[in-house]
Amino acid sequence: MDQTLLLTLAQAGPPPGSKPIDGADTAWLLVATALVLLMTPALGFFYGGLVRSKNMLNTLMMSFASLGVVGVAWALIGFSVAFAPGWAGSGGLGYAGLRGVGLEGGAWGATPHLLYMAYQGSFAIIAAALISGAVVERMRFGPYLAFIAAWSVLVYAPVAHWVWGGGWLAELGALDFAGGAVVHVNAGVAAVVAAVTVGSRKDYGKQALLPHDVSYVLLGAGLLWFGWFGFNGGSALAANGVAALAFVNTLLAPAAALTAWMLLDMLRSRKATAVGAGTGVVVGLVAITPAAGFVGPLGAMAIGALAAGPSHALISWRSRTRLDDSLDVFAAHGTGGITGALLTGVFAQAAWGGTDGLLFGNPGLVLRQLAAIVAAGAYSGVATFAILRLIALVSPLRASARDEGVGLDVVEHGEEAYASGEGAVLVLPRRRAADAAGMDPDYRRPAVHPTRMEAP
């Protein structure tokens, strides 16, 4: 153990630059962290409703697993890469293993450092889980776990550092209130790369692959919206007016996007679809994410409504292509994030706490927003591809055609989402089975066979 580490461990009292704790700020950030954490199971249901019933559990597990492996990776190293003092491109290893992460306030606000770690961790967890929508129904579970753990440390954490950890995009002056580029453009581009690298589902483009339960899609979208109040409102990192602005904008932008999406649906087919409504809510939420604390409420509604158009068009077009981004992660998160980040550069207003944007006489902000989008997208694409190719060297990324046909619930998890229980025989230890059947355990005959297909 080197001397610096010993000194750090021995250090007593608050470190230099620490702030006193504010009770209200801390209370809000505690709640906001729990709200953001709920978004990941919500995403599981949103995605789960969109897949076929034989892949329901696997799709849910892809989100739930992120709560585990990304949560651990974040505490051990991801948080340090994102937020420890480092250089413009990445944080250092100063906070690895949560070393020196205590209960004092600091540059992030008047809340405990450890709570700030947990709040940011809930962002890393959902960012990684978002990618799963592009590879559902065919990616093997083990390689997926390795991928999201590696992605959260090697892709998510550095990009978070660029914008929020004092990295080069923060220096450039790009605005990203709650993660339009960091979370959504980043995950959206990773999703396209993952869909291409893993490959299309075997039936894609040949058969109709329909959502098995649209009610889960709406349940998931509703819970995502609920959690998003913590995602955007909590990003003020204080219980103040900025939090209230972000909170209200998180109400209004998805409302506008939902309305616009239903109108677009009705223009196309005279029917407002429920899957469309759920998607519209998510697109509105994604689009307001970078802008939430920088634009006024009317600007937020404009951003929500305008974001519906490109995503709606892209979803209609994508399903006719050979790109099996199965649940349209790029159309919802990538495109919504890009539109939102650019429109942040248009509608941001110093009077509301942002930098003045295009509408208020500062066209340069749009260019800085564009730089953030291109940088996050380009790095995410290249690094995601490299991680997946490396994992593929060790273990195949996708399930065999037979396993894909049977469904990944049974193949990967040994369970079914909707088991009937008919024809299921309880497997008992040999002696108990014999007792149950009233037989001599050494008499070699199968115990109970309820289907009575063998001779009694």
Binding site: K206, V410, A419, S420, E422, G423, A424, V425, L426, T451
Partner: protein, 124 residues
Amino acid sequence: MKLIVAIIRPEKLNEVLEALYLAEVRGLTVSSVQGHGGELEQVETYRGTTVKLNLHPKVRLEIGVSEPFVERTVQILLNSAWTGEVGDGKVFVLPVEKVYRIRTGEADEAAVTPALPGEGADVH
């Protein structure tokens, strides 16, 4: 005419339907069934409870066809439902005493595949 009953894997249904459609075998009934055909047991675990599933989900097709279509339909089923693993299913060919088409009252060969030009099958 014959009634052809086939028990196949659910994941093969789309392939089978497509092949039947291309061969102009029209008019069939599909149902979800469960069965057991000697395939390996599927083991599932729910918390501490381990179970073997002896009944597997299958799809049952019932197709009424005229004599010239019997062999063709059977061949299509044998090819398109095949994977080579235990559990691919069975095809039964049963004699039929009478068939009526309810809409028109037509009977026997006129009521089953093939639908001759101008007649139109009931189910596509």
